[in-house]
Amino acid sequence: MDEWEYHPPPDIDESMSEHLQNFPRQPYMLVYAIRSIAALLLRGWMRVYHRMRIDGRDHLPASGSYILVCNHTSHLDTLCMLCSVPLKQVHRAFPAAAADYFFSNLPRSAISAVLINALPFDRKAKGAESLTVCSRLLENDGNILIIFPEGTRTTTGEMGRFRSGIARLVVGTELPVIPCYLEGGLGAWPKGVLLPRPRRLHLRIGESRSYSHLDKTSASVREICHDLEERVAELGRSNG
């Protein structure tokens, strides 16, 4: 008789806090259940409290992995982006979140990992390592990475320069990058304010971009950064 094969998960020796900090995370039924309920409640809350409007949903690819890129004015950006993806894909949508803030202690890690499904992104020391995690994530079919290339929330409303990480991730690949612009985030929840105010939010999803025609050079990286910045800013300028 052949022996049975068991497949214990790689994180079996790890404690709860390690489970939360690790990435990629092992799937847990309870976590999926909580996240699904949270996503439903979030969608209702965004529609009622912020009268959220989303334009250009049809630009989201129906299959395959892709990257959503958005301007960053408040924490509502992440929540809004999570509302824009189809509900059944919510467990495969990973907002890249600053590890030094969102995974700094156990309660924050729990919220980030369980409710937001955040990808811990080290924006200082190990940027390259975090990018490797991102590209490995996107190699699997059907994953969605949500990135704010400005790297931090703006306090003035002026969009900051895009950092090169996103460009280095997509240069020379077929990965679709979808520029988005969220309007109203700064007024609704500026940095340093405890709770969001009931202001309108309007998310515009632009047309998908791909950079497979470019070589992996620093000139291409600059070009991609510039192009994406332009596209996002353009969405911000458009009325409707």
Binding site: E5, Y6, H7, P8, P9, I12, D13, S15, M16, M29
Partner: protein, 314 residues
């Protein structure tokens, strides 16, 4: 079992005093050994684990019958989850979810009354549930039209439900009995004492391996010592079940002494077959939940049915 019954119940209050007293003495001893420069840091970790678990267990029993049954069902679910994750069954969310649901049903059967009888706990449903659950589990491959690897998945699910769900849930059903406080507290206390006795006797006198292919640290001397200690415990805790005859005490002592170690060995060979050291990491210094409740899983149903046969459960 209610909150007000618990705070006026002599058996419950005596156990609380005994357990708190033992914890205090153990803490003092450990403090003394640390002061004398002995390296007892791993024991401290285990001790801190106890300081978390004891209030949780006593608090749940204090809250009453429903809380106790719910608590046991939750432990059974988490225990099963550890088993499912370790074996890889957890990747199959349909079967895992079905077993979770079945464990919830065990809890419900323990809480509600039999529609044709008017006392709490639907014993008939509780005892026959494994037949329905096994049938439901066996149906899953048919429903999804799949055969590859299904025998292994189904077998793991049935063992997981029967052992970690149904057998362990007998502890919760004891909350419906006439001596609920005595039975439950005796079992929890005696099983832990049995574990500690096996460990201590093994360390002190251990020479001959008990089952070297399963658990190389267990010795025959440790096992005999634990059975000996477990035979003494019921005499000291006779107040828990004042209706017991002396030979009943011998019987429950043997059930805990032998059953407890068998439960330990069952988890040991499961872990060894899978190739892992602990079932998980949940309680500091104690491994996973299954590493803690392993003995109880074996003892609870045997104790329950033997007591029911001799004395009835109400």
């Amino acid at each position: 079992m209610t909150f007000s019954a618990a705070i006026s119940n002599d058996i419950f209050l005596t156990y609380v005093m005994v357990i708190v007293g033992l914890l205090a003495v153990a803490g003092l001893l450990l403090g003394l050994m640390t002061a004398l420069g002995k390296n007892v840091s791993s024991v401290w970790r285990t001790y801190r684990g106890w300081l978390v678990m004891v209030p949780l267990v006593l608090g749940t029993i204090l809250l009453g019958r429903t809380a106790t049954i719910v608590g046991v069902a939750l432990l059974a679910m988490f225990g099963f989850k550890e088993f499912a994750r370790a074996t890889g069954l957890y990747e199959d969310w349909w079967l895992t979810g079905l077993v979770y649901l079945a464990i919830v049903l065990l809890g419900v059967a323990s809480i509600v009354s039999d529609p044709r009888l008017n006392y709490p706990g639907w014993f008939g449903l509780f005892i026959t549930l494994p037949a329905y659950v096994a049938a439901a589990i066996l149906l899953v491959p048919i429903l999804r039209n799949r055969s590859k690897g299904q025998l292994q998945q189904v077998a793991l699910a049935i063992v997981g439900f029967l052992y970690f769900g149904w057998m362990f849930s007998h502890l919760g059903f004891l909350a419906n009995t006439n001596y609920a406080y005595g039975y439950i507290l005796y079992l929890v206390f005696a099983v832990e004492i049995n574990d500690i006795a096996a460990f201590t006797c093994g360390k002190l006198f251990g020479k001959h391996k008990l089952r070297d292919n399963i658990s190389p640290n267990k010795t025959i001397e440790g096992a005999i010592g634990a059975v000996f200690v477990s035979l003494l415990v019921p005499w000291m805790l006779w107040f828990s079940f004042p209706h017991f005859e002396p030979w009943d005490l011998v019987l429950v002592g043997l059930i805990v002494g032998i059953g407890g170690q068998l439960g330990d060995l069952v988890i040991s060979y499961i872990k060894r077959d899978i190739g892992i050291k602990d079932m998980g990491v949940l309680i500091q210094g104690h491994g996973g939940i299954l590493d803690r409740i392993d003995s109880m899983i074996f003892v609870a149903p045997i104790f329950f049915h033997v007591i029911r046969w001799i004395h009835g459960i109400r």
